[in-house]
Amino acid sequence: MGSPFLTPGTHSQLNQLALLHLRRDQAIPTVLQLHDDDNAGYKEGKVTTTRFGSFPHTTLTGQQWGSQIIASKVDTGSRRGRGPQKKNRQLKRKADELDSSAATTPAAEAGSGSQSSPQAAVAAASGFLHLVYPTPELWTMSLPHRTQVVYTPDYSYILHRLRARPGSSIIEAGAGSGSFTHAAVRAVFNGYPTTTTTTLTTDEGADATAATLPKKRRLGQVSSFEFHEQRVGKVRQELREHGLEGLVHVTHRDVYQDGFLVGDPQTGTSPKANAVFLDLPAPWLALKHLVRHPASGAESPLDPTSPVYLCTFSPCLEQVQRTVSVLRQLSWLDISMVEVNNHRIDVKREKVGLEYEKVRGAVVFPKSVDEAVSKMRHVEEHSRKYRELQQQQQDEEDSTPLPASLDAVLGKEEQKPVVSESETPAPTTAALADPSSQTSSVPLYAQGRLVHRTEDNLKTHTSYLVFAVLPREWTEEDEQKCREKWPPHRVDQPMQTEKPKGRKQLKREQLQREEAEEQQQQQQQQKHEDAGEESGKIREEA
């Protein structure tokens, strides 16, 4: 069947992991099932409830990936099989909903097994979500946290620098929450193993693939080590659910002590790793096992035919210093340390202007000096009129000297603005705005100035990354063999190879080259005869 992470196909399938995408940083992972062993008592079978409504899995299965799915009307109240705490749980569920962390609601067929076919779901009036296939990025965002997670900006760079490519073998120590594990599997994946004990990963298609393979290819694999037993169990369970079981070997192991062989620490099989990622508190303690010839006499966990790339992930500088020091002692080369600074950027339209009265998120403030001046003019004009009016009234009062109590005078004064405003046209701030923008027909979404800024929550430090390379072993014997095959001082006549050539020309040159070779041999013979003579050193630039 394969993993939805690697080969999702076009439609969602039963018993596969799917992600219910609610919003940018929130997706609920769920394995699609019609029924579940937990007896939640929904008539529709298994139902996942989110803050945007309830989604029976019958409405999620067999859908095109990326589809927008409408919520269903689900009777959450009159469910059977929930026992006496029904009311309690319902309240709790409501609280869960409010907390928006909407967990997968365990669901199952209502009552006995006879009602095995779930009821057809009825679309609700509102609510929807998007059904997407899982990727390591989405999984990193939605996985259940057990430890500090290696996030996308870090692992994308690490895997790139580790040269983790299809067919590579990679060691990971500290499986942790499994975020790096998923990304690493994707990087090294180049086909499912055909001989696995699980029923999940093999099918006829894969067998056929193996049979017709013209060459024996090395399949990419991840060897993951974790010393926390409970986490090992969880990671294994997740990998099984995700169809990645045959591609990752999870070992429960203290790697400081027992190294990196799969199986028995002394006699186990070597993962023949091309790349190593250590997310450990003390990576320098594990490095003694990552050598070509371990002191313990056990087999090396490294691939003897390739350079090995290493990355350690440590939050503190002191850890880095110890790691680097040990790396130097163990002959690692090209040692470098970096940190990755990543931030997300918010883009929005900043609306500042007097015309944005009653517009959400806008700042009602003059957008320019012109607007400020024109507003001031209006205000001045307004108060001048007001003063005139007041003066007028004062004059009237003076001319008709009526005995007025203090209260009446105060009352009048309070009313005055109202009176005056009703007389003069009400100068709302919006009316004072720059007329050019006021009358524009630009839709709201395109108004204002486009601005960008770093997102509010900034991760300023994740960890320091130490990279190093261990070259292949090279003995005097190897060197001798190479010398025999490639005469160390043989330099041929240069060829004028500048442009790609046609087939005919290639043939012609082949002949020429053969001739040249003969000449060269003759020359060399001559040289042997006359050692002191200047040899024809010919420059050749590729």
Binding site: D99, D334, K537
Partner: protein
């Protein structure tokens, strides 16, 4: 896997000056490294990568050049000694003042070095030991060497080593190296100032990976082609190379793991295995391809890259470093079958393309057999090209791609307009830009406010059409106001990564004092979704959000999606 230097392969040389030089290693030729020396290529062919060599030669004596492997211990010698001092005994209060040298009394002029330029030049000519004697002499004849602090002495020595050491390290040419080479040693603008960190992000957010089924067996692939990626690449092929590397189709020897496995088992077959390979590559193409039953160019179904290009010919010149010549691709290279190119004109208006539109008239075999061989092969070539273009263009137009990666000089929104509809549901989109402005514009085109307006306008138009009987073209009406359909992309996000390099030495760890400025590089990403055409009210009450408990390790939603509960669909 880069296990040893193969003949006729491009490799990189790291020089003492920290510069990188890329050269093709042709057997029986000389390799020139400028002032750092010259040596026969045969002396590094077959050797492992990441080894550092010193060039030794006796002046005046031909064929005396030989390379010496510099051991790791030697390379790290100074640091190891320094660490030994630092770690061994931390309490060394012996005459703190006497041992702590400062730069109080140093003389800041050039008179301290007693060796003249002429003397140095003479030394260079006579030198046999890869420049070591020169440096030793320089240190010897420095009059104020004992006044230098340990740090400044180390710096002085390093500076001289960079200038005089005849030393180099052989590094495999891969995408990461080429990226840094283009950025630092070549014209960065040619690759849109692409950095390693941006390439890593592009690959991950584009979900670029091996499609699972091998390209060798057609049947299983045809049933369900997996891993088809669409790319727009104006970096000269660097993005294509990075994708191909992630998909396992970049290197000519990709898939040849069996030979290396043999190497692993015993040392003796290692050389024979390498031997066979060498013979293969010495006589390229013909022999290798006739054994395989000649698969036509661009014919693979799964695990493919389809490049959309703006000009008649795509610019993929950087692929030559990986053994793929755009003009004359070798048939044994994995990209030969798995890399397809389609121009934007072929995509949007295929009949305007002369190759696509004009089918070469088919000639019956009897008639063909009377042709001269040159004419016959010309016919086959034309016919083959037409069929290839037809197939590739039709396939691209049919869509269903599993991912879209863009790094372009063009306006990204104009590219997205035509490429997003070609994606399968849930397929990721990742766009790189050296500058942020093109991407903020794209973000704005996918803003929630615009999306809401789009949906409302569409509903209005549909209702109008239903009411008036007039044939209103909803699509074109909408396109006038909205250049992109904002409902097709989920979770549009903009981010940037920047790597900061540190120096780690005992007691002297700090970030590097300077690094390259220029473009930061930004990545826009999202997911293609299939919106339902029905009218849906969004559920959820915005005011509830305030009660949301934000977990410490979760970044709260941004303003962009924070209001999505109000949206109607």
């Amino acid at each position: 896997m880069h296990s040893y230097v193969r003949p006729n392969q491009f490799v990189a040389f790291k020089l003492p000056s920290d510069q990188t030089r890329i050269q093709k290693i042709v057997p029986n030729t000389q390799v020139f490294l400028g002032k750092y020396g010259t040596f026969p290529a045969n002396q590094i062919i077959g050797r492992p990568f990441y080894l550092t060599f010193d060039i030794h030669e006796t002046p005046g004596e031909p064929d005396s050049t030989h390379l010496r492997i510099v051991s790791a211990a030697e390379l790290h010698a100074e640091h190891l000694i320094a660490e030994g001092e630092g770690d061994g005994d931390d309490q060394e209060p012996v005459d703190e003042a006497a041992t702590m040298r400062t730069n109080r009394d140093t003389i800041d002029d050039r008179s301290t070095q007693k060796l003249t330029i002429e003397e140095i030049e003479a030394l260079k000519r006579e030198s046999t030991g890869a420049g070591k004697e020169i440096i030793a002499k320089l240190l010897e004849s420095h009059s104020a060497i004992d006044q230098k602090t340990a740090f400044s002495l180390a710096k002085y020595k390093l500076r001289k080593e960079r200038k005089y050491m005849k030393r180099f390290t052989v590094i495999p040419l891969d995408v990461s190296l080429l990226t840094n080479y283009m950025l630092q040693d070549k014209e960065a603008a040619r690759t849109l100032e692409m950095r390693d960190e941006a390439l890593g992000l592009l690959g991950c957010w584009g979900n670029v990976h091996h499609g699972g089924s091998t390209s060798f067996d057609m049947e299983t692939v045809l049933a369900n082609p997996n891993g088809r990626y669409l790319v727009v690449d104006d970096t000269g092929g660097l993005v294509v190379a990075a994708m191909a590397e992630r998909m396992g189709i970049l290197y000519p020897h990709d898939g040849d793991f069996d030979e290396e496995q043999q190497d692993a088992h015993s040392k003796v077959p290692a050389t024979t295995g390498a031997h066979g390979e060498q013979d293969d590559e010495a006589q390229p193409t013909e022999g290798a391809t006739s054994r395989r039953n000649r698969r036509p160019q661009m014919s693979a179904q799964g695990n493919t890259i389809t490049l959309l290009h703006a000009n008649k010919q795509p610019n993929i010149s950087l692929l030559k470093y990986f053994g793929y010549e755009a003009d004359d691709p070798s048939e044994s290279h994995p990209l030969y079958t798995n890399f397809k190119t389609v121009s934007f004109m072929q995509l949007l208006d295929p009949n305007a393309d002369s190759i696509y539109a004009q089918e070469p008239t088919e000639i019956p075999p009897q008639e063909l057999s009377t042709y001269k061989s040159s004419k016959r092969s010309a016919y086959h070539r034309k016919r083959g090209r037409w069929m290839r273009v037809r197939r590739v263009v039709d396939e691209a137009r049919a869509g269903g791609f599993d991912g879209l990666v863009i790094a372009t000089l063009m306006d990204p929104s104009s590219v997205l307009k035509h490429t997003i509809p070609l994606l399968a549901g849930s397929a990721p989109v990742a766009v790189y830009s050296p500058n942020i402005e093109p991407l903020t514009e794209v973000m704005d085109l996918y803003s929630t406010a615009r999306k809401t307006a789009f949906i409302n306008r569409r509903r209005e138009l549909v209702e109008q059409r239903a009411a008036s009987e007039d044939p209103i073209d909803v699509k074109s009406e909408l396109e006038q106001e909205f250049p992109l359909d904002p409902t097709l992309l989920l979770a549009p996000t903009l981010e940037t990564s920047r790597v900061r390099v540190w120096q780690v030495l005992p007691g002297r760890s700090h970030p590097m004092m300077s690094s390259r400025g220029g473009a930061d590089g930004f990545i826009f990403h999202g997911m293609k979704v299939i919106p339902t055409q029905e009218h849906i009210e969004a559920a959820g009450n915005p005011s509830r959000k305030k009660r949301k408990v934000v977990r410490a390790d979760e970044t709260p939603a941004s303003s962009v999606d924070g209001v999505d509960v109000e949206m109607t669909a």
